[in-house]
Amino acid sequence: MKTTSKAYLNKAKELLKDLDLNQYGPLIALIVLVIISSFASPYFLKWRNITNVLRQISYTGIIALGMTFVIIAGGIDLSVGSMTAFVGGIVIILLNHFGGGMFAILIAIGAALLMGAAAGAFNGLIITKGKVAPFIVTLGTWGMFRSLTLYISGAGEFRSNSFLFPKLGMGYFLRIPIPVWVLLVMAIFYGILLNRTKFGRYACAVGSNERVAKYSAINVQRIKFITYIITGFNVAVTSVLLSSRLNSINPTTAGSGFELDAIAAVIIGGTALSGGTGSILGTLIGAIILGIVNNMLNLLGVSPYLQGTVRGLVIIGAVLIQRKRG
């Protein structure tokens, strides 16, 4: 009997050794944060507050899922915020053009998803074929998408006349907001894509060591290209949900700062900024951590102007912790 218990102990020790801090660190941080928050504010654990926080994070969370692939494969995408406004603007224009009914909604959504994927493909094409650094390319398109949005809008707001469209973004299913469902379903899909498919494995290989990947008969450029398409597609999903929630898109402010939140969620979630490893669950947790931090600052009455500072500190802190472990 004694020997078996010893064997179990050894096995447990081994499991603990394999336990990757990068994987569980974010989860532990989240649990600690929830405990502190529930003591700090009586409103925090109210169902309404929780669903609110989850809804808020779902927009940048969905983008962050795509960003996870981009960063794992060794890239970065700064254009996602303005791309959100750009695609959102198109959604509203199409919606109004086709009369705002069910048919119009379906056309607008379909077109938006295609537009998003195409915008991502544009980033990916210049990065892979033009061999320009992702940071520079997406900094350029970040400016372009915002400017195009403003140009198309004529500096006014994109407003939808549809009564049906807002039901999507405002709606609930089983007491949970629809955007949150979308985020969860997409997270499961992308989690499988990352961990269990050839594409996910190759993306990690490309980000870990591009030359080894090339010598291992992996089409490195195609993998990178696809990660930008995924991100563009996800941006479009966010655009649809966001424009439907507001039934309008402000060309100046919509999606502004989303790139920062998305990248932050990915990094806080334990994905290495240098690429190679990462997790979708981590990104989801990272997004929730950011959401709770914002929520707490609101509940505690901290000036909204200071929230950016706190968020910045959280990001820097997460990267510092990553460094220490690495």
């Binding site: 050839k198 190759y202 080894v212 990947a213 010598y215 291992s216 008969a217």
Partner: protein
């Protein structure tokens, strides 16, 4: 007798409870060339890293010039006059040669300005002494690997060192460059500089060193003057058993060609290369470093673009424009630089092994991790790969085991043609023998092998035929009793006309 330059007393080192070096007592005399040999993992690197301050010993004491060294660190080591030429280069790619040599100890004109003229002149003098054709203003990323090695050597002797540690400095050098290096080492030793020389090349150790110390599994095995010990004895002491036959019995290939390469060119790196490979044959590729052997292999497998020529596999013309096509056509390649192109160090063993052949493990769009593990276990048993656990990351494996994983990774694609590029570089005698035996098993099962190596002994011991390259061209294909060290060198250096 004058006291030793370095004296260690019961030095031991543990890493998280594992003893990698145990109870080493040794005196290294002033001005001697001290050989240090052992298999990978024998503790050679750990020993020198204790001397140059990168590691702290767990136990024991260590004296330099008779004084006890309390806490050595790399900075103090440098101040005391201990320089190391590391196995991996430590040069800044986008700086010039002279800037690298004086990095951190620049000569200055005054408080603000550097004395570039003086540093360039000193560099020129050093290069002349090394008989290396390198200009002080060449950028590091523009010079060859052998030249980089020379810059590392120049960097180490530019500091007035008392103790010079050389870790495998000749791996990438040609025999001519090695001769220059050896005569320089003798000069330095005459001037009283002590040299610790680590190498897998036992012949060199025998030639240049005064004494040689053998380590095995972290234990001291022997320390003898080199004139009292033969190469064969050294090898036996390193491995701890009698080494009989280094190379396995050669097999006879069949007549039909599997691979035919006709007039293959690649923008100046490879010019008009033609050869064929028979089924079940080992075709050796010899030549000096930079002769274009790797470039030829990389052109065949589609990493580099072929500008002219054609490739036939079993008589059929094939367009191999990407590594994937090479895999699909049954060609596997084991790259020469395993860290840079062979394995992903932060991936676990199974993920590395299945990286090229991942398709085999897909069921309904998903990777079957069960199949991956099964296949990995099979390979671990078959090739005796030493791993802490099946899911260990590659960075935790020793060099020889990493090489085995790299090899298995290519093997898992079930190739008909296997190209090995320097498969034994930087690995120890018994791992080398494992690889030779493995190659032999491959050809016995009908797979055809291209074997690129800079070790003539290996080429001669293993190959049915030998192709020799020089400056991107195949200058000769030798068969039967033509395969001699002399003949190969004549073709490799371009002197064959004089002899024939």
């Amino acid at each position: 007798m004058a006291e030793a330059l370095v004296k260690t007393e019961n030095i031991a080192k543990e890493f998280s409870g594992v003893r990698v070096l145990n109870d080493i007592n040794v005196d290294i005399e002033r001005g001697e060339i001290f050989g240090l040999i052992g298999e990978n993992g024998a503790g050679k690197s750990t020993f020198i890293k204790i001397i140059n301050g990168i590691y702290q010993p767990t136990e024991g004491r260590f004296f330099f010039e008779g004084e006890k060294v309390k806490r050595m660190n790399p900075f103090r080591a440098k101040k005391l006059g201990i320089s190391t030429i590391p196995q991996e280069f430590n040069l800044v790619d986008h700086l010039n040669v002279y800037e690298n040599i004086f990095l951190g100890q620049e000569h200055k004109k005054n408080a603000l300005l550097l004395d570039q003229k003086r540093m360039k002149q000193l560099t020129r003098d050093l290069m002349e002494e090394l008989e290396a054709n390198i200009s002080p203003e060449d950028r590091i990323d523009e010079i060859s690997v052998a030249q980089k090695q020379m810059v590392e050597i120049a960097k180490a002797i530019a500091y007035e060192s008392k103790l010079l540690i050389m870790d495998e400095p000749t791996t990438v050098l040609t025999s001519n460059e090695i001769d220059v290096l050896f005569s320089l080492m003798r000069d330095l030793s005459d001037q009283g500089v002590t040299i610790v020389y680590i190498s897998h090349k036992l012949r060199e150790v025998n030639k240049i060193c005064d004494r040689v110390m053998v380590l095995r599994d972290g234990e001291f095995v022997s320390l003898k003057p080199t004139n009292e010990v033969t190469e064969h004895e050294m090898a036996n002491m390193m491995v701890g058993r009698e080494l009989n036959q280094m190379f396995p019995e050669m097999t006879t290939p069949r007549e039909e060609p599997v691979l035919e390469v006709k007039g293959l060119s690649n923008d100046g790196l490879v010019t008009d290369a033609s050869f064929h490979l028979k089924k079940g044959e080992i075709l050796g590729f010899a030549g000096l470093v930079g002769a274009g052997r790797t470039e030829l292999a990389e052109t065949i497998i589609g990493i580099r673009k072929q500008t002219e020529g054609e490739i036939l596999i079993e008589g059929e013309k094939k367009e191999i424009s990407s590594p994937r096509r090479a895999v699909n056509n049954g060609i596997a390649y084991l790259p020469e630089d395993r860290q840079a192109t062979g394995i992903i160090t932060n991936f676990e063993v199974p993920k590395n092994i299945t990286l090229i052949s991942l398709k085999k493990y897909i069921q309904n769009f998903l990777i079957s991790q069960k199949k991956e593990r099964e296949s990995t276990r099979k390979y671990i048993d078959e090739f005796n790969i030493q791993v802490p656990s099946i899911n260990a990351r590659l960075e935790t494996l020793s060099g020889g085991n990493q090489q085995k994983v790299s090899l298995v990774k290519s093997l898992d694609t079930e190739p008909e043609i296997f190209i090995f590029d320097e498969p034994t570089r930087g690995i120890d005698v018994s791992a080398k023998m494992d690889i030779f035996n493995f190659i032999n098993e491959l050809v016995e099962s009908g797979i055809s092998v291209i074997f690129i190596s800079s070790e003539l002994e290996e080429i001669i011991g293993m190959s049915n035929r030998v192709a020799v390259m020089r400056e991107g061209k195949i200058t000769g294909i030798l068969e039967g009793n033509e395969i001699t060290e002399e003949k190969i060198m004549y073709h490799a250096t371009g002197l064959e006309e004089r002899v024939v």
